[in-house]
Amino acid sequence: MNTTKKVLFYFPKSETEKPIVYQLVKDYNLMVNIFRAKVTPDEEGYLLLDITGDSSDIDRAYQWIRSLGVQIREDVKGMRWDENGCTSCGACITQCPTAALHIPDRRTMRVWFEADKCIECMNCITLCPFGACSSQF
């Protein structure tokens, strides 16, 4: 029976020389729909995608992905950013891999959070000096 899962693969350091998507399709018979990706050699990166296939194939694929040192997150619900708690200090800006936390206007320097772009990498949750970022789970 076919199922579809929204899933995030997070690469702490790049394993992306391996053609992950290609192998998911070819070796595990999965259909893949990529929403967002950042894969730069030697840097942390991520793939946010839908995968459709037989659940036993998905399980086998997960095992293989994990064996590469890649983290898998299934419930990408978005990080909670407390707008009032955020002081716009900007400390998170260079730590956020997707620019979900960003400064839209460099005159006011106010920091803003775009939930759609967040991949729950946890960087800002551990690093925000003011505790403005927290995880839902």
């Binding site: 002081t87 716009s88 200090c89 900007g90 400390a91 998170c92 800006i93 260079t94 730590q95 400064i103 460099r106 006011t108 320097m109 106010r110 920091v111 551990t126 690093l127 000096p129 003011f130 505790g131």
Partner: protein
């Protein structure tokens, strides 16, 4: 030429012309310095950022029977109690009892002195635990109770060092990530962190302390406070640009104000992963436009203020004095600087957005006639430098 008295009279009459240190730049460009100096009475400057050398004196009032406190904790954060019976000092960087610090590197430092100060200002209850050896007149040897700031007789913030005139831009040229008071620095110059409000920052708008001195009235987190001394590590003898603006640390201010009158938005505990806890404060300082020269100084722009880029993996801890270059605050605020030919993304530890908000609030308070200026009683010392600490044996 204007005097403090004239400016204060105009403030009282709600007629003062007040601009923020950002607005004044364009204003003077349009009007010219002489004309603008006649019109503008006050320029407001501001900053918001972590200021580790901060804390407060508290007086708890006397319990029955009395206690002469020798050790005390608020929410498990140790106070300094080596003063009178129920007086104590709470410092911003004090860790909570049993915090594992960096034993589990990098430590999270979720709660400490800065957070207790934040809770107090927010009116939240905190637990007081105190011990004593007991005396004939102060027989109690232990107490545990809950207090809010309203229960205290005094809660006076007394900060030995705030408002650094300028600051380093921290980078990491080493090979592993490092955790600093300027945040996480990735190896190989992958990010840079700075901490100043640049063109809005108080002492960058008054580089030779012509108006900001001991006795100057300041806006400290919403309360009216004062400069009570030069800040610790005050170092007016420093490298300066052609506009006299320091290109490194330089001056600092010691500030005090009544914590009961502060607003919690501007008093915030800070957790710096791998480094420790601190306190972020919002500060506004009005600059009276006594003459065109003083006005000229307040028109300094981000593109004319430079900060040194320092490697925090080697040069900072070992005090080599080496810098990797200088960059302007305009470059820093753009989000990217160039260090040794490499493009490095920047972020800040101080909030320009909050500084701007504070400069606006102070402007409004002055316009409404609610905040009068006070002339300094004494000028901050020129020609002062900072001494290092030599490590020597007893006989050397």
């Amino acid at each position: 030429m204007k005097s403090y008295e004239e400016i204060n009279r105009r403030i009282e009459a709600k007629k003062a012309v007040v601009l923020t240190a950002e607005e004044v730049i364009e204003y003077v460009e349009k009007k010219g310095i002489e004309e603008a100096a006649k019109e503008v009475d006050v320029v407001t400057t501001a900053t918001f950022g972590a200021m580790c050398s901060s804390g407060c004196f508290l007086n708890f009032g006397h319990s029955t029977p009395r206690i002469r406190i020798t050790e005390a904790w608020l929410d498990d954060v140790l106070l300094y109690s080596g003063i009178a019976a129920v007086d104590a000092y709470l410092g911003a960087t004090q860790l909570r009892h049993n915090d594992p610090a960096n034993m589990d590197y990098p430590g999270a430092f979720k709660f400490g002195g800065g957070h207790v100060i934040e809770k107090l200002v927010a009116g939240k209850p905190v637990q007081l635990f105190a011990l004593s050896y007991g005396t004939d007149d102060y027989p109690r040897r232990e107490l545990r109770t809950y207090i809010t700031i309203h229960d205290l007789n005094q809660a006076i913030m007394v900060n030995p060092r705030n408002c650094y005139q300028n600051y380093n831009v921290a980078v990491n040229a080493g090979e592993r990530p490092i955790y600093t008071y300027l945040g996480l620095l990735k190896p190989g110059l992958k990010n840079a962190s700075y901490s100043s409000a640049g063109q809005l920052s108080p002492l960058l708008n008054d580089p030779y302390y012509e108006t900001i001195g001991i006795g100057t009235a300041v806006w400290l987190a919403g309360a009216r406070g004062h400069v009570y001394a030069e800040g610790t590590q005050f170092s007016s003898l420093c490298e300066r640009g052609p506009n006299d603006v320091p290109m490194e640390g330089a001056g600092t201010l010691a500030l005090t104000a009544d914590m009961k009158k502060m607003h919690p938005k501007w008093v915030r505990g800070v957790s710096l992963v791998g480094y420790g806890v601190s306190l972020a404060l919002g500060i506004g300082i009005p600059i009276p436009i006594l003459n065109p020269q003083i006005l000229k100084r307040t028109t300094v722009k981000d593109s004319e203020i430079y900060a040194p880029v320092v490697d925090y993996s080697q040069d900072y801890p070992n005090r080599t004095g080496k810098i990797l270059g200088r960059v302007s605050y305009a470059e820093l605020k753009s989000g990217e600087i160039t260090v040794q030919g490499k493009r490095v993304p920047t972020s800040s530890m101080s909030s320009y957005a909050y500084a701007l908000e504070i400069a606006e609030i102070l402007k409004d308070e002055i316009r409404r006639g609610e905040f009068l200026l006070s002339p300094p009683l004494e000028r901050l010392p020129l020609g002062k430098s900072m001494k290092p600490l030599p490590i020597r044996g007893r006989s050397q």
